[in-house]
Subunit: 500 residues, 2 copies
């Protein structure tokens, strides 16, 4: 950065004019800083010391990029630079920092390909290869349609002659990661096709009941290890099944969440818990939506503490816009809290784009993505008035073809205007990201202001609890527990730990 | 686009609730539409008919892209799709449409490589090749430093054995266009290096006085042919020279503008004219800036009608930020109007980024680019309060590495919020774009709302005169003449002309 020294006495302009100028300038920047997210947080002496360490490393990174833009990774595809993130000292500090909650994550996108590969080593998994990869747990060869031959995975693997290659090929089905993303994903269509194919592939394997339960348990573990204390998970609630072919009602899937959360929090007392948002696919007709809503209400009735609300998922451009379901959604809004995906699009002035209007009018408690918000000043007013949380997922938006150079992500404007942002990670497993730390890191060093500091990070963590679906007593409790963790982090912080 | 039909009677929610909902929804969208740029323009019956034709073709293009995102060109580098623009019917309508003024263009970036190639066929041009290409007009071999040998271009060309190849190689020096932009321009540093090299190469050739005069005359001609009626051109005012080595003061360069404008408007009575913004390089120290300001004042005194004001040019990240010159610029602001480049950067929270604050506090009449504005809510307030024009150059920002997918350009938000935008083209010759039609086209089909129509285009054209440096009487006159041209365009509009 460049130093500026003023040799005022050289100039005939009145010193008072110059004073007035710099006074005004200071006020504008000060008021922008105050308005920005975290701008009203005041740091204790200990926090200020941590901040000095954090900002020392942040300035080093950002200023190096400013001086050497060719090495600024975040202007490229995430897959081209993800391996370098781990070397960042800022990233390591963020990993250690309590980050509160992850409020926008999806059931089968929580864990990465290595975890999924381990599942393929379990007994009773059948595999069939045709144009797709089919995976089902069963105690006899499945009858599900497949143009190839169903065989036990263990046999297929040992017959492959080359287990390393077999597993490497298999692993490719469990991730969007490729080395040449610009070629493989030329547009949002190809990206989403691969993304949907991922879910299509893993769902039959993951919805084997014991695997489903273990997967979610292990996901909570992984998120907790990334210093996250609470989750709100969106699930399509697939029908779980047993080896003998028994298939359960989706309500069983919902109950599984409740059970796993209970088991997990019993063992990990510092983990605050999780809630479920029922979020089935949006590309349906109205009668299907009616079924969804009925199920949501049943779940709410059966497990009011675990159930948070309702959403619809899938590529917004291709699915039904919310306007198609207004009468039903209006009717159900007294019973259900909404957490709609809205405005996850670059197409300004389309029905997808207008989902933002409907989501807000339907009383959504938070919005998923809200990427298109800068184009909707009236929706913005409503969001501010109603204090609606914005669930921003920067890596997801980059991977799913909304934006290349992450500095163009609207989050920078959201932060500048102090909007109620919560950072989340959408489907970190699908792009092999950490549960939340990488999203925090990229937002902090590449989207937020160079000058944004620990106060922003703390506010983002606090927001993730403030805008959660917890009732007010639980929220206070969660915030108290967060503060405890936060102070522990601050008290034990040792800058020299990050030196090497 | 998807049709939506409401079968309200199926639902038990009160019809009045639904009415109320759609009433609110309509009001939000209506008020967003009103707030957006052009939202208050009302169209005559004839204009409405033109609009139907325009929007028929716009919807066809945009909806095709929505359905086939792989063929949406504007998510790629401009160089990868520029050749397809000419086939668009919307583009051809925009070409024919009076567009008002171009308020942000640079002296040596007005005309493209083919024009520059023609200059190299003139007599008395000497050339020397070393790591760079050196070009000087003279009546004897120049003594300017060059590691190669100075020879007449005509001789070099005829000795080359292959004139086609010689000219093709030469032409590459006169354009940023390449077939593989992602490889050649990996970051803003390489792009700007090539961009600066372009000016370094052409300046000695173009500043031969007769060539300089002819270049600007021909530029006015080309802009007029693109249905532009007025220009404000930023010039670094290089020292012009004669064949015998006579070198002139920059004030002569300024006078040349005045002379050419006079000659041109005499022949082309429908062309309203042009003004000069003196815009020397920003990477200087304070004493050099003092010289600049003195020169600006002298020019203003000598030709107050032609002189519009002062600016500084060059890559903002690398040049001096405005804050370094506050005392001098404060002192001169009573005498000079400012049209500062500000916020042409992706680096949020840097001194470059803060140029926006200084530009506004120094009383700039318009801002060049203001790309970083969404991150500055207080600056935004000042801009609205003081009605400061924003000179947006979408193709420039894409080519010069600020944004890839043009839908992420902040112009979409500027338009949505009805900010005082004027569209311009910066250096269209350098990237082989049309004078202004391509910038209008891309802004209209790829940045603005799908629903934005002729009212936006008309408002943009009107803004280009409204925010010009013309005095109020001339402005009224210009607007009157624009309206005449506009009505002529509307009256003579024939949709079938664009059918094939």
């Amino acid at each position: 950065m460049r130093a500026v020294i003023f040799l005022l006495y050289f100039y005939s302009v009145y010193a008072s004019d110059i004073d007035e100028y710099f006074d005004k300038r200071y006020k504008i920047l000060k008021s922008e800083s105050r308005l920005s997210l975290g701008g009203n947080v005041s740091l204790s002496d200990k926090e200020a010391a941590v901040n000095i360490c954090l900002m020392h490393y942040k300035f080093k990174e950002v200023d190096y990029w400013f001086d050497n833009p060719r090495y600024f990774n975040c202007s490229r595809h995430y897959f081209n630079y993800k391996q370098y993130i781990k070397t960042s000292k800022v990233f390591r500090i963020i990993q250690d920092m309590p980050k509160g909650a992850a409020l926008h994550v999806h059931d089968m996108g929580l864990l990465g390909p290595d975890y999924l590969m381990n599942i393929t080593y379990q007994d009773n998994l059948y595999v069939c290869f045709d144009n797709n990869l089919h995976l089902i747990f069963a105690n006899a060869p499945p009858k599900s349609p497949c143009d190839g031959k169903w065989q036990l995975m263990s046999k297929a693997r040992s017959f492959s002659n080359n287990v390393t290659k077999f597993d490497a090929d298999l692993r490719n089905h469990f991730t969007l990661f490729v080395k040449n993303p610009d070629t493989v994903y030329p547009s949002i269509r190809e990206t989403w096709r691969a993304f949907m194919k991922f879910f299509f592939t893993v769902q039959p394997m993951l919805s084997y009941r014991p695997v489903w339960e273990q997967y979610f348990y292990d996901a909570l573990k992984k998120f907790r290890e990334d210093n996250i204390m609470y989750l709100e998970v969106r699930s399509i609630l697939p029908n779980l099944y047993e080896l003998d072919g028994t298939v359960y009602d989706p309500i069983v899937t919902a109950k599984t969440y409740k059970k796993v959360i209970k088991n997990f929090t019993k063992v990990h007392r510092d983990f605050f818990g999780a809630k479920l948002i029922y979020a089935p696919p949006r590309k349906v007709d109205r009668s299907k939506l009616e079924e969804y809503l009925e199920l949501a209400k049943r779940i709410k009735q059966e497990m009011p503490d675990t159930f948070a609300g309702f959403d619809l998922v899938g590529q917004e451009d291709l699915g039904s816009p919310l306007i198609e379901f207004v009468p039903q959604l209006l009717e159900s809004r007294k019973e259900l809290n909404y957490f709609f995906h809205a405005g996850e699009t670059d197409w300004y002035g389309t029905l997808t784009d207008e989902n933002l209007v409907d989501a807000v009018l339907l009383g959504a408690k938070r919005l998923g993505h809200a990427y298109a918000l800068p184009k909707h000043p009236q929706v913005l007013n409503e969001i501010i008035k109603k204090d609606i949380g914005l669930e921003v997922n920067v890596i997801s938006n980059a991977v799913l073809s909304l934006v290349r150079d992450i500095r163009n992500h609207p989050l920078s404007a959201f932060l500048a205007h102090g909007l109620p942002v919560v950072l989340s990670s959408d489907d970190p497993g699908v792009w092999e990201a950490d549960p939340l730390s990488e999203d925090f890191y990229i937002a902090f060093v590449a989207v937020a202001s160079r000058l944004s500091d620990l106060r922003l990070l703390k506010q983002l963590a606090i927001n993730s609890l403030k805008y959660s679906a917890l009732d007010s007593i639980s929220k206070d409790d969660a915030l108290r527990k967060f503060n405890y963790k936060w102070n522990e982090f601050i008290d034990n912080f040792n800058c020299s730990k990050y030196q090497h």
